[in-house]
Symmetry: C2
Subunit: 340 residues, 2 copies
DNA sequence: CTTGGCACTCGCAGAGTTTGAGTGCCAGCA
DNA sequence: TGCTGGCACTCAAACTCTGCGAGTGCCAAG
């Protein structure tokens, strides 16, 4: 048992040293830098076992050991606890985010903050509409046969959509339509509103049915489109400098960062609010990004998590610190959304 | 005179070869690959002169010559004409951009298109509001003391702003306010509307003056804010791989690409619609970006240029092709805006 | 003004060498 | 059973040395 404990201590030491020095760590250096209370030879034996079990590996003979993805996983799961942020750090986060004027601004500030705190590439998903409610739908006539449908949500987000009508619509008809439309969906959850809109055209005067149908379709599209391909903000790409090879690592990552769909998949499903998810190297959905880890957390008003934020970095990263930062920012952003 | 001409031909050949091979070019290789009709020795003499005049330089003795910024400048100004795009390329551009559903979509597609055409980092500024007109202003009650002001412009762009009122506002007062506000500014140029709004509160019933004032301020902010810190879209950062050193070149550029203010400065003043501006290396406003060039063009509906788009790349780039692509995209985007 | 010839320079690539960190294994000891 | 010191071995990285060749500048002749 004691032996087993020491072996884990060795693993932890290897991870910590490797993360800070970026170089394979050998038995001798390990004993010098940590109080393990045993000789290098013993550590070597432990290392051999750890290597057999697949937690560490040698880049080449006559080199030190490097943690494998499996090793990092064990480290993250069992050998670390997220360290609480210092009061100063909390204040920094607060002052950074408190000046935000609207949801978009919160997102943009968060990206910047996260990338500075972690010195990694930060990714923040804009809050999805799923759980918000419809505050108002505005129809504005652009040309006689064209409408602009503007959807205003409880989160303060505004979505717009151009509508091509089959026939012309008089001004009073337009306001009638606007009135019925708002009557039908205002205050509803997005998910319910989508259903309601499906039958909306049947609830208006026959003369308006055609226009109602097209308008409803446009609004529905605005709702569901933006639910699926929700936008994301990216920041701190300059931090990639401390990554490895350009072609093997940075390039695929840069490409991924521009494909928002890919990026969302990368952020992936995050658990409930406040829980930090770590995906290490090959655990992620993309082969090209095998040397990349993702640390993410959900956020949203109340207890629910309506979107994700996090960072993308090399598998060789300071997980405890990063997880702490991501969690702190996610919580703070959630709190801001609560107040709004 | 003839001598002078040949010397320029030599410079052109050097630039072309260097751009395609990425290696310093020597006299012998030059005569082999171009029909200069003279011997290497003569070319060497010409090169010596060109070097004296500062158009080319040697990385080290016993190496070929490389164009200087000054050399590229001469090349761009006098030795090249923008080659017209092939029919196929035109079609590609058209089909790529034609599916766009709104202004934002046009911008995003343009970024993607430009980065693919030029294999460089593309930057497209969102159209500024300056020359658009107000189509509609919507006021939506959020809480009794809070309004959401939604500004809809002729370009199809929508801007929003939260308004904190000093007192409560009844529903009928709200619609009255909405009516007067639209009466005052609908159809006006943004620049005029800003002025009009300054005195708007004096034109309504005294009971509404306070609310009118705050609402007007918010709408004005939405107008002028977004004129100055107009947004930009960036794409194709993965193309940076073919750049030089990470720390000396790529890093500062990545940093610049995230600072939209900096980026706008980089795009800089662009001449009238259809004219391509080239800024080479040190000619730009930033010391850190001495090895990067910017190729940009203004675009906008009609003849006016209301925003810029372009690419950022290494000074060593294929200027003729790049300029052609940038110009073509700028023109096509302008045409789309014309139609809208 | 052009050209061929010639001596010179110097970065680069490849081969050989050295260094030292790190390993695995073993025999002895608690 | 587990720890330790010792020892032989491995091998990447750093360094030195060397020859090659692309490229230059200069010069004298056409």
């Amino acid at each position: 048992m004691v032996v087993e404990d020491r072996r884990l201590a060795v693993l932890r030491a290897i991870v910590e040293d490797y993360v800070s020095t970026e170089e394979p760590v050998g038995s001798k250096a390990l004993v010098e830098r940590h109080q393990l209370g045993v000789s290098p030879a013993t550590v070597r034996n432990d290392m051999a076992v750890l290597e057999d079990e697949g937690f560490i590996t040698q880049p080449h003979t006559s080199a030190g050991r490097v943690p494998t993805d499996k090793g990092y996983r064990l480290f993250v799961d069992r050998l670390t606890q997220v360290k609480p942020m210092s009061a100063a750090e909390r204040r920094a986060i607060a002052s950074f985010l408190d000046g935000a004027v609207d949801v978009d601004d919160v997102v943009q500030r968060s990206v910047r903050l996260l990338s500075q705190l972690t010195r990694q590439v930060a990714v923040v998903q804009y809050p999805t509409l799923s759980n918000s409610t419809v505050r108002h739908v505005e129809l504005v006539s652009v040309t006689p046969t064209r409408l602009l449908a503007v959807l205003i949500l409880s989160t303060g987000r505004v979505e717009q959509r151009l509508v091509e009508l089959e026939g012309e619509l008089a001004d009073d008809e337009l306001s009638e339509l606007r009135g019925s439309l708002n009557g039908a969906v205002a205050g509803e959850q997005i998910s319910d509103a989508v259903t309601t809109l499906g039958e909306f055209h049947a609830t208006v005067r026959p003369e308006l049915a055609s226009a109602a149908r097209t308008a409803a379709v446009a609004v529905r599209e605005a709702m569901s489109d933006h639910r699926s391909d929700a936008r994301v903000a990216v920041g701190g790409t300059a931090n990639l400098s401390r990554f490895g090879e350009f072609d093997t690592t940075i390039r695929p990552l840069l490409e991924a960062l521009e494909e928002h769909v890919v990026l969302l998949k990368l952020l992936g499903e995050t658990g409930s609010d406040g829980l930090v998810t770590v995906r290490i190297g090959h655990e992620g959905p993309f082969q090209n990004l095998a040397t990349t880890s993702v640390v993410a957390a959900g956020y949203g008003p109340g207890e629910q998590s309506i979107a994700s934020l996090g960072i993308v970095g090399p598998t060789r990263m300071d997980y405890p610190a990063t997880m702490a930062s991501v969690r702190a920012v996610a919580r703070y952003v959630s709190r801001i959304l609560d107040e709004a």
